[in-house]
Symmetry: C2
Subunit: 154 residues, 2 copies
Amino acid sequence: MTTQNHPPRRDLAAMLVPLGRALAAAETPTLAAPAHGLTMWGYMVLLRLQTMSVRTQAALAAEIGADKTRIIAVLDQLQRDGLIRREPDPADRRVNLLSLTPEGRRRCDSAQAAIQANENRILEQLQLPAADIEAFLRVLEALSSRDPDEFMPE
Amino acid sequence: MTTQNHPPRRDLAAMLVPLGRALAAAETPTLAAPAHGLTMWGYMVLLRLQTMSVRTQAALAAEIGADKTRIIAVLDQLQRDGLIRREPDPADRRVNLLSLTPEGRRRCDSAQAAIQANENRILEQLQLPAADIEAFLRVLEALSSRDPDEFMPE
DNA sequence: GCTTATCGTCTACATGCACATACGATCTGT
DNA sequence: ACAGATCGTATGTGCATGTAGACGATAAGC
């Protein structure tokens, strides 16, 4: 490797924020389509519960970067649509055990398939080597799994 | 018909949006520090003008993903601080030619250096091969330079 | 000259969200 | 049994932002 200075690069946040906004805007119509009928927040919740069920609403909210009070209406709607279960924990009846219903999992998978198909199309448009794309996803995954506090300067 | 040997991956937007939020939050205190005295929007404007001067405010707003009316107060402040020039185009006196002052360039470079130092620290924490990081930045750059309209599904 | 369009600016309005607070139900420690 | 903490919920406030319209100055086409 040449120990040259990197070419002047733009800031991560200055690139990531508009990019995230643009991709989210591109997803919205797909999610809102009658086949899925999801909001962005609702989809975020389903995605999170897809991995594993969550014990409290506060924990769920923190994990998807939402306010504790913010997701109440979201959960109400998802439950009304029969996509999630919200049952009080028999061991601690203050907390709600949150999990996906079979229908919720189906809806989430279907929406995710449509969205990832579009994302693959976008990535292919870049005309970059597949190895680059894979490295990109690896780094992105690593960054996402970090605790945001570690980003703060000392 | 894509190859299916990838592990199930999360959605790009679902990863990028929280990540961008976290990085932006980490940048804010650095920008607000007395040495720089910048808001996030002000910094965005400086970063954009750092590359090249822009002919109209509307174009600048569109390029950094802001509203046309949104950046007026931002430009006012930057001009008051002597960081940008905003002179009416003699060829079309409706539009304002926007450019960085030497002091504006200095301030932008200084802020950017502080921010990128922190970003480099974050990237190193990931303990991933340097080639992965470089590929990540390449793909990110390519995605950022795309027209957001190309992200929309047909 | 007249009409139409564009740019920057200003104003008003609606919205989405974070933040704080309060309350009832419930759990925990003593 | 009692005090304090926690969880879900409801409510209000404030801020940042998007959207829309109107205005004056200016430009371009007929």
